[in-house]
Structures are given as structure tokens and as C-alpha cells.
Amino acid sequence: MSLLWCDKYRPKDFSKLDFHKEQGSGLKSLTKDGDFPHLLIYGPMGAGKKTRIMCLLKELYGTGVERLRSEVMTFTTPSNKKLEIGTVSSNHHIEVNPSDVGIYDRVVIMNIIKNVAQTQQLDLSGQKSFKVVVLTDVDALTKDAQHALRRTMEKYITNCRLILCSTTMSRVIPAIKSRCLCIRIPAPTTEQIVQVIEKTASLEDINFPRNLAEKIAVLSERNLRRALLMSEACKVEAEGKLTPNQNVAEPDWLLMIRETARIILNEQSIQQLKKVRENLYELICRGIPPEIIFKNLLDGLLKQCDLGLTAEILENAATYEHQMVQGNKEIFHLEAFVAKCMCLYQNVLEEMKSDF
């Protein structure tokens, strides 16, 4: 069975972690007497949150947690709407991403946690008295769902522990923060990424040039998963012969967003706006999250602006991005932002002309 590098060489034990070792041993001592509080694990993408969760579970329950099965659960909302959600579970834990079902996430949380929590372990000898529920993408949960977690977390603590996994802390309500042990997982530094790439390459028996590894580490934006995927792509592209100056393929969507930013800066007119719209639709259809489009577009736009214009564009970006997250038709807000930028840009250009 061929696996991607990032899955194949994922550390399965706290002792095998490549970075944040001190934190790893802290987590290990946390599970030492077979018990731990609710956890809220947060950190940027590709920093190893999931890896640490799996290590923790293994430390607690042994290898049993690696026997996973995926199930589709069905729920009925109070308004008789049927929901389906995929879960991954072992005998000891269950993993769900409740935000998959959008605004109905509260129903999922209520049902799953209560199901798990209300079944008690019969034989306490040799078994833990609790099961673990892993909730991913907690920052995407609605406020309602987060409130639903509050009292449940306290009430059922003897039968069920929660591990919450999120990328930012800001969107988690304080009431949940105060009930959890919050664990911050910073992104690996570029040197650490280089080390991991080299280690992986030596395990794969490949001679990986250091220059290339460094280049990849910088381009990956300190995201280890992306770095490993990129290095694997490089290997495939070079057909076994890696050179230090090899071109590292950047994702197509990133190039496309940059191109879009260039279109906006080149000419400000309705025709251009139409072109931009095509590009944006294309990106959204390909499943690129609008938040990422927005961020990269903004980066592309601000590369060559003076401070005054930058401030103005950012001010608008802040508002439009917020509206985009609140609303549910992303394209409107993206386009509105593009149009506004064109407008601001043109104003500045005209002012400059009239100064001459």
C-alpha cells in the first residue's frame, strides 16, 4: 500500500516527535495516571495538532485506537430534517467534524456527546472509565453549538472527555476556554521543517539536496504537511534525480490568485471586473476556501501600494472579510471588495495625474 509521505511517517508516539519535544513530554505526563482534563488544542495548519491527539490517545488506550472505522451517522433535527455526518471511531474514541452540517451542528453535538456520555463502561478493571470525543474545527462551530457544549462538558465528565481541535482561539467562547486545558502548538520553524524533510528523505533512501529542502521550507509557510507534499511532488517531477536548483511547483490556485491581483492592478474597468469574476468563480468551484482566496488576493494587491492606500484597502478588507464570514454567498463579498479596490486605486492614480 502506498501512502503519502506525510501519512507514512507521521509519528505515532510522543518519543518519536520531531519538534516541541518538551511539550510532548508534558502531554505524556498529563496522561500518566490515566486521566486528563478536557483539552483544547490550537495551532496553525500543519503544525501537528492531529498527530499529537493521536499520540495522546495511543498513550491512553494503547494500540486499540489505531483500529479505525468510519461510519455515517444520521440524526433528525427538531424540525424533522434528516442529517448525515461521517465519523471516524475506534473502540475508545470517536472523531467528528460537526461543522460539516452547517447550522445544525448543535444537534450533532448534543446527540453524539450524550450518546457517548450516557453509556457507562461496565468492566472498569483494565479499561478506562471514559471515552474520548474528538471535535475538529471547533472555531467553525456556531455560537449555539458552543453553548450546548458548556454544561454537557461538566455534567458528563466521568464518562467522556473532549478533545477540541481548532486553528484560532478567538472564535471559541470564553466559557469553553475556562473549562479546558488550552494547549498551544506553534508551527515548526523552517530549520525544523528542513530537518524533517531530510529525515524523511533518508528513510525513503533518496538524496535530497539541502538547498531544495530549504527552498521548500520557506515556500511552505511553515506548514509541515504542505512541505512534505511539496517535496514528494518534487521527487515525482524529477523522476528520481533531484537537483538543488529544481523548480518547486507552487499550487495552481495560488498562481491564479496572483494573476487575478495583477489584473486588478493593471486596469480598472468593468471589463476587467468581469474577468476577475470568472477567475473567482473558477477558484470557488475548485473548492478553494474563500478565506484563503481573500487573504492571498489581499497580499497580492498590497505589494505595491503606498501607506495611505494600504491603510484604506485594509480597512475595507477588514469589513468585507467579516461580512463574508457572516453571510453565505462568498462571491458577492469578494467582488464587492475587488470593485472597491479598483475604485480606490483609480482615485489615487487620478490624483497623481492631476498633480503633474
Partner: protein, 355 residues
């Protein structure tokens, strides 16, 4: 344990007592300290003197008005009513209370069916064992501010009609989200954030009872960073002791890490970067900040404190930055991207430096 909590004098006793009690904790180890040290009687509740006085009066007179508790998290709202219920009803308190919180379905339908049927049942004035007990039941609506307005409206008449058999206790963080007709039917009690010294005392008590090695200074840092939230403080203490492993004393660094406080030099660096007046530098800083996974709302909070006390900026500059800080904080908590919001804050600070 009850008598221990009442006396609260363990601070003067020697440490070997703590060691002996840690043996007991090993048996019941799955109980988190927050639950373990929940007040058992109304008198154990710290700080909230008015509420305690009123409740004590009620308990001795064996009657209770409809109650509305409000205040920030971790001040003992739920604990108080549960303790009061235990004192009122003794062993049968589970039969006499209906606890509904945000995790339960609480639409208008549930209020109409479940709450109404529960409240219409009459309760007897004697317990099964023959002792007297108050002839009513309590409906506890926890986190009532997340109830819909229609559900709240449905409560109105039920509350009045069933006063003979049922008392209601509403618990919420923000009293403004409870509709007026309900607040006027309840006696309101505000739970104030706890005094730092009170939390400190309680933490010291717990750490001695659990046999934890913790310096007084460290505890002080912990308390300062918990902002009057007792639950948070206790959870932090337990987490720290677990993370550290038994034996070694809890260090200040662990406390800072667990409470999620951002080291002060990040704030200084932010100001430093902004003074350089280069947008690209600011972006680099924001990116670096993001990679370290610190929370932006925590940063904004700390920056606000820093801004108010600092002498780097003039009053006018402070006002400009402060205004921006408000908007940014709102956007961040409402789901905006941290990266964009922080960049936007940075440009404002850069512009303010010029003013």
C-alpha cells in the same frame, strides 16, 4: 470535606496532612477539582454576600422567590443554586429539580410540554423518610440567555400560574438578553467577579489539600491571569500540576503557557515594528505571530492594557489606536480573519505614529 471547607483553616496546618489526603484523591481521581471543590452548602460560596444572605433566609424560612442569577463565567451561579437545592431538599433533590441548559432542546415546544408538565405536578411537604421539606420543585434554566425570545415568552404565564408548586431559577451571563417580562417576575442577583485574594486563598487551600508544590508568587501570577474566574483558576491549577508531573514545583512559565498569556516582548516588538513605518515589516510580524499560534483576541486585550499605561504614545495617538482596537476586537470575535484584522490594526498604529 464539608467541615473542612467551612473552616477553611487548613492553611495553618502542616504539609504531611496534605500528603495523607492525596492518597484519598487517588481513589476518586477521575473527578476534576472543579467538581470536587464545588461548594456543598450556600455558606461555602465566596464573595456573593447578598445572594448568600437572601438564600440563607429563604432556606431557614423554607421558601424561595423566583430567581435570576447573572454575572461573568466562573463566579458560582450554578454552584449556588445547586447547593441551595441540596440544602432545601436533602437526598431527594434530584427528583425535585429540572435542570435544562443550552445543550438540551429548549425551543418553545419544550417549554410548553416538558416544563409545563413538570411544574404542574404537586410536590408533597414531606420526604419519604418522614422529614419535612418544602412543598415545591425548582426548574433551573441554565444559560438562559441562549434561549429564543419566543421560548422565553412562553415561560411568562407558566411562571405565574404555577407559583404554588414550582420555583424558577434562571441563570445567564448577560441579563440584557432576558426579556423584560421575565426579569420583572424574578428577584435579580448580580454575581460579581471574584476578588483576587479570595481566589488566591481558595487555590492555596486546594493545593495544600492535593499536596501540590506551588510557590506563592506562582499562584499570584495564575490568579492575576484568570480575571476573577474561579473555575478557570482551578482548572489551570490542575492542568499545571498534571503537565509538570508530580514532585517538581510548578514554574511560572507553565502557568503562563497554560493561561495562554502572550509574553510581553511580543507587544514591545509590535510597537517597534510599527514605528519603522514599513507595511511589509508589519505583515512579516503578523505572520510570525500567527505561526506561534497565539490568540489574537488575547493579544488585543493585552495590547489595550499596555496602550492605556504606556508613555510611548500621546493621548491623541492613544485615542486613535484605541478606537481601531475596538473595531478590530469586534471583528475578530465575530469571526473575521485574524491575519487581516491584525494587519489592519498595524497600519492604523503606523498612521497614528505620524499624527
Amino acid at each position: 470535606m464539608q467541615s473542612f471547607l467551612k473552616s477553611g483553616k487548613l492553611g495553618s496546618q502542616s504539609l504531611d496532612k496534605g500528603a495523607s489526603s492525596s492518597k484519598i484523591t487517588k481513589k476518586s481521581k477521575t473527578v476534576p477539582w472543579v467538581e470536587k471543590y464545588r461548594p456543598q452548602t450556600v455558606n461555602d460560596v465566596v464573595e456573593q454576600n447578598e445572594v448568600v444572605a437572601v438564600l440563607n433566609q429563604c432556606i431557614s424560612g423554607a421558601d424561595l422567590p423566583n430567581l435570576l442569577f447573572y454575572g461573568p463565567p466562573g463566579t458560582g451561579k450554578t454552584s449556588t443554586i445547586l447547593a441551595a437545592a441540596k440544602q432545601l431538599f436533602g437526598d431527594i433533590y434530584r427528583e425535585r429539580i429540572l435542570e435544562l441548559n443550552a445543550s438540551d432542546e429548549r425551543g418553545i415546544q419544550v417549554i410548553r410540554d416538558k416544563v409545563k408538565t413538570f411544574s404542574q405536578l404537586t410536590a408533597s411537604a414531606t420526604r419519604p423518610d418522614g422529614k419535612a421539606c418544602p412543598p415545591f420543585k425548582i426548574v433551573i434554566l441554565d444559560e438562559a440567555d441562549s434561549m429564543t425570545h419566543s421560548a422565553q415568552a412562553a415561560l411568562r404565564r407558566t411562571m405565574e400560574k404555577e407559583t404554588k408548586t414550582t420555583r424558577f431559577c434562571l441563570i445567564c451571563n448577560y441579563v440584557s438578553r432576558i426579556i423584560e417580562p421575565l426579569t420583572s417576575r424574578c428577584s435579580k442577583f448580580r454575581f460579581k467577579p471574584l476578588n483576587e485574594s479570595m481566589i488566591h486563598e481558595r487555590l492555596k487551600l486546594i493545593s495544600e489539600k492535593e499536596g501540590i508544590n506551588c510557590e506563592d508568587e506562582t499562584l499570584k501570577t495564575l490568579v492575576e491571569n484568570c480575571g476573577g474566574d474561579m473555575r478557570r483558576a482551578i482548572t489551570c491549577l490542575q492542568s499545571c500540576s498534571k503537565l509538570q508531573g508530580s514532585g517538581s514545583p510548578i514554574s511560572v512559565n507553565t502557568v503562563l503557557e497554560v493561561t495562554g498569556v502572550i509574553p510581553h516582548n511580543w507587544l514591545l516588538e509590535f510597537v517597534e515594528v510599527c514605528k519603522r513605518k514599513s507595511y511589509m515589516d508589519a505583515v512579516e510580524f503578523v505572520k510570525k505571530f500567527g505561526y506561534e499560534a497565539y490568540s489574537a483576541s488575547q493579544f488585543l486585550e493585552q495590547f489595550n492594557c499596555f496602550l492605556v499605561n504606556t508613555g510611548i504614545f500621546s493621548d491623541k495617538q492613544k485615542a486613535m489606536i484605541g478606537e481601531k482596537l475596538g473595531t478590530v476586537n469586534y471583528f475578530v470575535q465575530d469571526g473575521g480573519s485574524e491575519y487581516i484584522q491584525l494587519c489592519s490594526l498595524a497600519t492604523s498604529v503606523i498612521l497614528a505614529c505620524d499624527a
